[in-house]
């Protein structure tokens, strides 16, 4: 349980950072003198401050760091095979295919493409007759599935090749 108020803690931190003016400092110093809880908390915060100051050292990389960077300048950053342009072209193609398929669907082109595939028994003998397997095929459902997959592919492409690189570039290099 904290012994000093949040407001007092904020004041103590500002006091340690040297952000208080002379009058404010005098007031806080009086409070520190009068309350053991406040002075204990000040010591704790001072301890943290000194630890952090000691840890805050600037590290040096290896001696050939600059040389390595200069050598790597010619190596272009690895690019994914799905470049922005290629991705955009596939995306447009994918949307176009979906639109054409949807137009054809709404025109009823695939309405009469219902059939059944019959798979006969693989074994033929005189004693036992295996029932043949019948798989119904609905052309309309099939095209619907293709349209769905195409749209899913379009969304993935939009994310990977257009949106992601765009936002990454903005996060990395622009304010």
């Amino acid at each position: 349980m904290k012994m000093v108020s949040q407001e007092m803690e904020d004041q103590l931190l500002r006091y340690l950072d040297g952000e208080l003016n002379a009058t404010e400092s005098k007031v806080i110093e009086r409070k520190i003198m009068m309350s053991s809880d406040v002075s204990t908390r000040l010591e704790e915060l001072r301890l943290v401050r000194s630890f952090l100051m000691n840890r805050a050292r600037v590290e040096a990389p290896s001696k050939n760091f600059t040389q390595k960077v200069m050598n790597d300048l010619d190596v272009l950053p690895a690019r994914s095979t799905a470049s922005f342009r290629n991705g955009l072209l596939i995306l447009i193609g994918s949307i176009l295919v979906s639109v054409i398929a949807l137009v054809l669907l709404s025109a009823g082109v695939f309405d009469s493409t219902t059939t059944q595939f019959v798979v006969g028994s693989p074994l033929k003998n005189n004693w036992f007759a295996f029932p043949s397997l019948r798989i119904p095929f609905n052309g309309k459902m099939f095209v619907n599935g293709i349209v769905f997959l195409n749209l899913a592919l379009a969304f993935v492409l939009l994310d990977r090749t257009v949106l992601k690189p765009l936002f990454q570039k903005r996060t990395f290099f622009e304010y």
């Binding site: 805050a56 600037v58 590290e59 990389p61 760091f65 200069m70 290099f173």
Partner: protein
């Protein structure tokens, strides 16, 4: 000492095709860039790789630097983002105890006491979330103002102020807790 004007002149040279001019900027900022990467990745080889990668990225995107902020802040933001993406890709590294080097030192006691204190701080630091930890570390590097810390981390100034403030309080609480526990076990 390179002034901002000198820096802009160097950047103009680089943009005009003088690649060697970039070495001056790399030399100037490599220590802080490496330190930021090290604070995030905590391993020197990876930090060095990330810092180098960030310098290469900055070179290839030099035209994106709009000169509204300091070049260093722009660069350190690239270092920060690169190190963060390295951290996301990083897998925990197993180090065999057989390959560890054990050193003997005459000042082992003093070193142990110093290491103990560092260990307590490190323990307390682990209780902070990553954004708070990094904010506080950058703030205490002295090189960066709160404005710059906010720009490097891509956050609002007030958010960073609160983060630094609260992180120190939390650290004090955790440190006190740890030290009390240690005192009880003695």
């Amino acid at each position: 000492m390179i002034t901002t004007e000198d820096e802009y002149a160097l950047i103009d040279k680089i943009l005009a095709g003088d690649r060697q001019a970039y070495a001056v900027l790399v030399d100037k900022y490599k220590n802080y860039a490496f330190t930021i990467a090290l604070k995030i990745l905590e391993r020197r080889p990876e930090a060095e790789e990330a810092a180098q990668d960030a310098f290469v990225k900055a070179f290839h995107h030099m035209r994106s630097f709009n000169r509204q902020a300091k070049f260093s802040t722009w660069l350190y933001r690239i270092v920060f983002n690169t190190a963060i993406s390295y951290k996301r890709k990083k897998r925990p590294v197993f180090q065999s105890i057989e390959n560890s080097i054990v050193e003997y030192s005459e000042h082992a006691d003093q070193k142990m006491e110093r290491d103990d204190k560092q260990l307590f701080v490190a323990k307390a630091m682990n209780c902070l979330n990553e954004a708070d930890r990094l904010s506080i570390q950058l703030f205490y590097l002295q090189e960066f103002s709160l404005d710059e810390v906010a720009e490097i981390l891509g956050q609002n100034l007030n958010t960073i102020k609160v983060r630094v403030h609260r992180a120190r309080q939390r650290l004090a609480d955790e440190l006190t807790k740890i030290l009390k526990q240690e005192a009880l076990t003695l």
